[in-house]
């Protein structure tokens, strides 16, 4: 009898080509974008190698593309050269490409799930750390570097040291008005930014089971911010209903076979995790980051902490530097922090439910005159869906700018750069120094919290608004 295994171990075992340490694993789906692939294709071409499985590879453009005026072309010559390189590489190697003029274009981690390519039990890689997003479907999905991208292109396999398993047990129910983003920020605050290093996290518990696929993607997306190699959630009815009928989902008899295979993708009752963290969902409130890493967060009802509240001298020193960069003083109530920009989008919170949650908050209200607010849908499909529901009208009426899809201000590789010294309430995943532009000050929040901050011009506890 096989010993009890975790979900992660089952998916790992299914992909073993050579059982050694490190292990050679077979890759089911390789997602490609313009920033981390050109050197990989160049290496492949120089050595006269080909792409082993173009039919398991798909590309889109997301990091460096503008979100306005696309018909004018890409003005940044370096970005244009990078995007042209991807177009040419996909053409030369016969890889399906969702280009700038394709209605399926979008952030790579939004596009994979929405096209039905991301499925339970797959091994998914991409030259991007937020590949962890796809774990929401019970796939094993992780980010890789450019040398590894070249290796996967050439061999469809990857060498990996086997990570350990970690359970994040989410007990209780998520309270009303508290978003999936608040849950993952709460988890990171608990385990720390390296709490998941060398581990694959499985998120478990009723609060996780009750989440929609969009919410699960928000959770798994930020596994990397907790240092984890990947994050996973066992597939269930919610997962199956989401995938059914999508363009690349299995059809007919193959669908039945797939669903039956997915049913075994759960952690066995007696399986043991190497590490366990327990989080009480019921005690969570909306979170706001005050510092320059995603564990430096506090409840919206709280105040900016003092560096003296940290015992570890390195963390105390980090807090001092974070406060200086963020131009914040200890003791300042979060509700008193004024906002210059609001960015609604990214692979963390750029999906249709995120836009709906924000639209609900702003409907009938106006963006504060001091705030510049932008909505960047995660994909052109999300954009089209939102427009069919009239959300674009709600956003534009309130004073938001309604954009085309891409990574945009999440990492500011395109023209959507937040100016130095200005403060942005952002639904993205990283509040690192300079992330949204040199000197820009990022506060990570949920879509509803970002929307409310846009209206008020400072942070508000969105639960007060939603109850009114």
């Amino acid at each position: 009898m096989t010993p009890p295994r975790t979900l992660f171990e089952k998916v790992w075992d299914d992909h073993i080509v050579i059982d050694s340490d490190p292990t050679l694993l077979y890759v089911d789906l390789h997602l490609v974008h313009e920033v981390t692939s050109p050197q990989a294709f160049a290496g492949l071409n120089q050595s006269g190698r080909t792409v082993r499985r173009p039919d398991l590879t798909v590309a889109t453009v997301d990091h460096g593309i503008p979100t306005t005026g696309r018909s004018l072309g890409i003005r940044d010559p370096l970005s244009k050269r990078q995007i042209d390189a991807l177009l040419q590489n996909c053409k030369d190697h016969d890889i399906t490409m969702f280009g700038l003029d394709d209605p399926r274009q979008g952030i790579v981690h939004v596009v994979g799930p929405e096209q039905g390519l991301t499925q339970p039990g797959l091994l998914v890689v991409c030259g991007d750390s937020h590949t962890s997003t796809h774990g929401a479907f019970g796939a094993l999905a992780f980010g890789i570097g450019t040398t590894e991208v070249e290796h996967v292109l050439a061999t469809q396999t990857i060498w990996q040291a086997k990570p350990q398993s970690m359970a994040v047990e989410v007990e209780g129910d998520l309270p009303w008005g508290v978003a999936a983003k608040d849950l993952i920020l709460g988890i990171i605050a608990k385990i720390g930014v390296s709490g998941g290093t060398r581990h694959v996290i499985e998120y478990r518990g009723r609060a996780i089971h009750d989440l929609t696929m969009e919410q699960r993607m928000t959770i798994c997306n930020m596994s990397i911010e907790g240092g984890a190699r990947a994050g996973m959630i066992a597939p269930d009815e919610t997962t199956i209903r989401y995938i059914e009928g999508r363009p690349f989902a299995p059809k007919g008899a193959r669908w039945d076979e797939a669903v039956s295979a997915w049913e075994s993708l759960v952690t066995d009752p007696d399986a043991v995790f190497d590490k366990v963290a327990v989080v009480d969902a019921g005690s969570l409130v909306p979170h706001v980051s005050w510092g320059v890493n995603p564990a430096q967060t506090v409840p919206v009802t709280g105040t900016v902490p003092s560096p003296d509240s940290y015992d570890d001298p390195l963390q105390r020193d980090a807090a001092v530097r974070a406060l200086e960069y963020m131009a914040l003083r200890p003791g300042t109530p979060i509700l008193d922090i004024p906002i210059d920009h609001v960015f609604l989008g990214s692979c963390t919170n750029g999906r249709i439910e995120d836009l709906r949650a924000a639209a609900k908050v702003i409907e009938g209200r106006k963006v504060d005159s001091r705030v510049s607010a932008v909505v960047v849908p995660g994909s052109m499909q999300v954009k089209a869906q939102a427009e069919s529901e009239g959300l674009d009208g709600i956003f534009e009426e309130a004073g938001f700018s309604w954009r085309d899809a891409g990574c945009s201000s999440c990492l500011a590789m395109n023209p959507d750069v937040i100016p130095a010294g200005e403060r942005c309430a952002s639904t993205s995943n990283r509040n690192y120094e300079g992330r949204q532009g040199r000197g820009a000050r990022t506060h990570l929040v949920s879509p509803a919290m970002a929307a409310a901050a846009a209206i008020a011009g400072h942070f508000v506890d969105v639960r007060d608004w939603e109850s009114s």
Partner: protein, 204 residues
């Protein structure tokens, strides 16, 4: 990749925790399609003023540190983005090794593929090295074969993944090695269930 067996040289101390890859090489320098030319942008935002002038108070701009070979830094180094531009920039500045309390997973992997030696020591040893590195002429030696770090009065053993070690020591092309296993890859490939997705465009 150039083989790596021993690194000897002076150090640069960077006594910080959680240094992310956005700090190592900011996003505005990721638009190039080449593998080289990143060294001058290492820690760019910390190393330059708002006007783009090198900041005299940031350590890698100290002329006495030019020629240093080993970066010594705190826990969770290289967290965040998967950009391989991070180890490229560290290498192209002139470093051959990083000694840290702990490295982030993707950064550690990427470094092993590009020949940047990343060594993890306990916090006490890192603190001691950071103290020693206050002297810009203090030398450190990392011996990968024997897995030791030695400096003035300090000798530490470190753990290292044996395969990553072999890759660094031999400098072999990883793809060539994997391709020699073609038969097992093909066997696995043929046994995959038929319902698994392909990316062949359904609409064209």
């Amino acid at each position: 990749m150039k083989p790596v067996t021993t690194v000897t040289g002076t150090m640069v101390p960077l006594d910080r925790a959680d240094v992310d890859t956005d700090q190592i090489i900011p996003q505005q320098f990721l638009k190039r399609i080449e593998r080289d030319g990143y060294g001058e942008f290492l820690f760019y935002n910390w190393a330059h003023t708002d006007d783009g002038i090198p900041s005299s108070d940031f350590i890698i701009n100290d002329p006495a540190r030019r020629g240093a070979r080993v970066l010594v830094t705190g826990p969770n180094f290289g967290c965040g983005s998967s950009r391989e531009h991070a180890p490229w920039a560290i290498q192209q500045w002139g470093f051959e090794a990083v000694i840290t309390t702990s490295a982030a997973d993707i950064f550690r992997n990427n470094s092993s593929y590009v020949g940047l030696l990343v060594v993890e020591l306990d916090q006490d040893a890192v603190t001691r090295l950071i103290e020693l590195a206050a002297d810009p002429t203090a030398q450190v030696t990392i011996d990968l074969e024997n897995q030791t770090v030695t400096s003035d009065g300090l000798e530490e053993h470190f753990d290292f993944n044996p395969t990553a070690k072999e890759r660094l020591v031999t400098g072999l092309d990883g793809i060539g090695v994997t391709m020699s296993h073609e038969d097992v890859i093909a066997a696995h490939e043929h046994a995959r269930p038929s319902w698994l997705p392909t990316t062949v465009d359904a609409s064209s």
